[in-house]
């Protein structure tokens, strides 16, 4: 998995270079009177330098430093998709319903529990947190524009 380390270092390198380019659009000022672009430019330059060192190290070494676990990347990806969907549906569907669905998803798809456990946990979490935060602590959590 040396390639993965190298790929990460290369990405950091590209990022640093892009940041340096973006910083160069800001007024740099002079050393006597540094402008807004001065600090970001130097910081980006250091990132480029560090990323080059990492890239060099990754290409030279034979072992990977990346954490290799049993890996259930599919579940992580699924959860991330669910979270993104949650964000998009929060306004139209409202907090209670979205939260119910999210918790249900987690308890059925990421770490499967029995239906009874999953359903009751999801309902308790959604309703309970809505009562505590929206009603007691008056956080204006969306109720859902579609539900009126």
């Amino acid at each position: 998995m040396v390639r993965r380390d190298a790929a990460v270092a290369a990405m950091a390198l590209v990022f640093g270079a892009a940041a340096a380019y973006e910083s160069s659009k800001l007024p740099f000022g002079t050393v006597h009177n540094p402008g807004p672009g001065f600090f970001p430019w130097w910081t980006s330059a250091v990132i480029v330098l560090l990323a080059s060192i990492l890239l060099f190290q990754a290409l030279r070494s034979r072992s990977s430093t990346a954490r290799e676990g049993p890996g259930r990347i599919a579940k992580v990806a699924a959860l991330l998709v669910a979270l993104s969907v949650y964000t998009f549906l929060l306004d139209p569907l409202g907090y209670p319903l979205c939260t119910f669905l999210l918790v249900l998803f987690m308890l059925r798809a990421t770490d499967p529990q029995r239906w009874a456990v999953a359903l009751s946990m999801a309902a308790i979490t959604a309703v309970g947190s809505y009562i505590v935060f929206a009603i007691w602590l008056s956080v204006p959590l969306p109720w859902g524009s579609l539900l009126g």
Binding site: H32, R67, A122
Partner: protein
């Protein structure tokens, strides 16, 4: 006695019913998340940051500090009973603690770590109380060049100590600095990196970044790994160590407290490293080092004392120099800023009620924690039976509500989730999140002090190397920066003479190695 007078003021603040309640809540939540593997103090403090918006600064810092040092108490319980560290700072406690439990001495192990934590925590508060005010008045003499040098040294130490690769640590620090520049320029007010997005002109909200990196990031990592927890089936009886056990533990507790205090003061030092070093130290000093790993009570007493002591003493650089040494302390920094209290040399003098109130609350909190962790230990053992899959959705929901509540905005929830993904990827590739959050919070100060210094010196970089304090700090920073090179040269020399040396693999070996030099 000035100190006693001030302390009396502090107790007057800390003993008000509302602050006692926050102190208890902090200790209680701290113990709970200490016991639970899969959620650590930085994540918890990030989750509770929005809650602290509505309460006074002193109460907020009492609550959050309680969570931080309380977690050090709780972490050992899981290590001893489950052989899984409840907190990163209790990793070494597994070695001997779990063995003790298997030999039927779980009670003694739990008790000695609670007593050790209490003694160390209390001694460390004494140290904090005596050391902080003089250090703060010394730091008052600092001008922009000294501040810049200090911040550079602080970030360097965090990058050096926080993870296994200094290059990665420093890169995360630079990334944090860059994130900190988004928004208005601190001196001229120019818009930077906002790309016309109005919401970005105030910069990335620290709290969203913190909740994403620590809250969501940790949940994602844990979802991937699944924590399997099985409580060691044993009757916990005899919660008091016998005289023999006390005698063997007394010196390790004292040494652990002292060691922890000094390591905790260093930025990037803190609880985790101190526990490893104190374990290694006890093993080295012991007449029977072979007992370590097989249930030696010193192997529980020393690191548990050290991590508590370090947790408390890491407030020293925060409250005197304005430098947060680890991620949890960075969150507390943010909480104080939100309340308009700037941590730094002026804090003790200008807001004595915050400083002395916190100190007094720490004395009280340690007593509360001793009670919570000894007579009530059964409660936490029950909590351990809650499976992580049921906990994960609760943590997530809490983060999502917290993110939303900062500005009542769904957009913020999206930003938090994006940083969650980033935090997950960072951990996958062994990048530490701590240097990033520290740098992000210190970035504006670092930039302002650099630019002010250069304006003052008319562009002469000598300003950082001519003034004695700045020069000393810079020299230390440089030494730290070059240390990997020294180590590399040294290991090459060694391998030429002795043949190939294996790289230190264990985290414990690596950490104690690099810091004891």
């Amino acid at each position: 006695m000035d100190v006693l007078n001030n302390l009396a003021t502090g107790f007057a603040v800390a003993l008000t019913p509302i602050n006692l309640l926050y102190c208890f809540l902090g200790s209680f939540i701290g113990t709970a998340i200490g016991v639970l593997p899969g959620i650590g103090p930085p994540a918890t403090i990030a989750l509770l940051l929005p809650v602290t918006y509505g309460i006074p600064a002193t109460s907020a810092v009492i609550l959050l500090a309680g969570i931080f040092y309380g977690a050090m108490y709780g972490g050992s319980t899981t290590s001893i009973l489950l052989n899984i560290p409840g907190e990163a700072a209790s990793v070494v406690t597994c070695l001997d603690g779990y063995q003790m439990a298997r030999q039927g001495r779980a009670g003694a192990a739990l008790a000695i770590s609670a007593f050790g934590s209490f003694i160390a925590g209390t001694l460390s508060v004494v140290g904090l109380m005596l050391l902080a005010p003089p250090l703060a008045s010394f730091a008052l003499k600092f001008g922009p060049p000294e501040n810049f040098a200090l911040l550079v040294l602080g970030l360097m130490m965090v990058g050096y100590l926080a993870g296994e690769s200094m290059t990665k640590g420093l890169m995360m620090a630079c990334l944090g600095l860059l994130l900190g520049t988004v928004g208005l320029d601190p001196i001229m007010g120019t818009q930077r990196f906002t790309y016309g997005v109005f919401k970005l002109s105030e910069g990335f909200e620290f709290i969203l970044v913190a909740m994403g990196l620590f809250g969501i990031g940790e949940v994602l990592v844990n979802v991937e790994q699944t924590i399997k927890a099985e409580v060691f089936q044993t009757k916990i009886r005899g919660l008091l160590p016998n005289r023999e056990e006390w005698r063997t533990s007394a010196a390790p507790i004292a040494r652990g407290s002292l060691l922890g205090f000094f390591i905790g003061v260093l930025p990037g030092g803190g609880a985790i490293i101190s526990s490893f070093i104190s374990y290694a130290l006890e093993k080295k000093l012991s007449k029977h080092p072979e007992r370590f790993g097989k249930g030696a009570i010193e192997g529980v007493a020393a690191p548990e004392s050290a991590n508590n002591s370090a947790a408390t003493s890491s407030f020293v650089p925060l409250l005197t120099l304005g430098i947060p040494g680890n991620a949890s302390i960075a969150m507390i920094f943010a909480a104080l800023l939100i309340h308009g209290v700037r941590p730094g040399p002026l804090l003790v003098a200008e807001r004595p009620e915050v400083f002395w109130g916190l100190v007094a609350s720490m004395y009280i909190g340690n007593i509360m924690l001793l009670v919570l962790n000894l007579p009530l230990i059964g409660l936490w053992v029950k909590l351990l039976r809650v499976p992580y899959p049921l906990l994960a959705p609760l943590i997530l929901v809490f983060v999502l509500i917290g993110a939303y509540s900062v500005n009542n905005s769904v957009f913020d929830v999206g930003i938090t989730i994006a940083f969650g993904l980033f935090g997950y990827l960072m951990r996958k590739f062994n990048f530490e999140p701590a240097p990033l959050v520290l740098a992000m919070i210190l970035g504006p100060q670092l930039e302002a002090s650099l630019r002010r210094s250069l304006i003052y010196s008319r562009g002469d970089l000598g300003v950082f190397f001519e003034r004695p304090i700045a020069a000393t700090l810079m020299a230390l920073a440089l030494l730290m920066l070059l240390s990997p090179v020294f180590r590399w040269v040294l290991s090459r020399k060694l391998s030429e003479t002795v043949g190939p040396v294996s790289e230190p693999t264990g985290e414990a070996g690596d950490k104690s190695d690099s810091t004891s030099k």
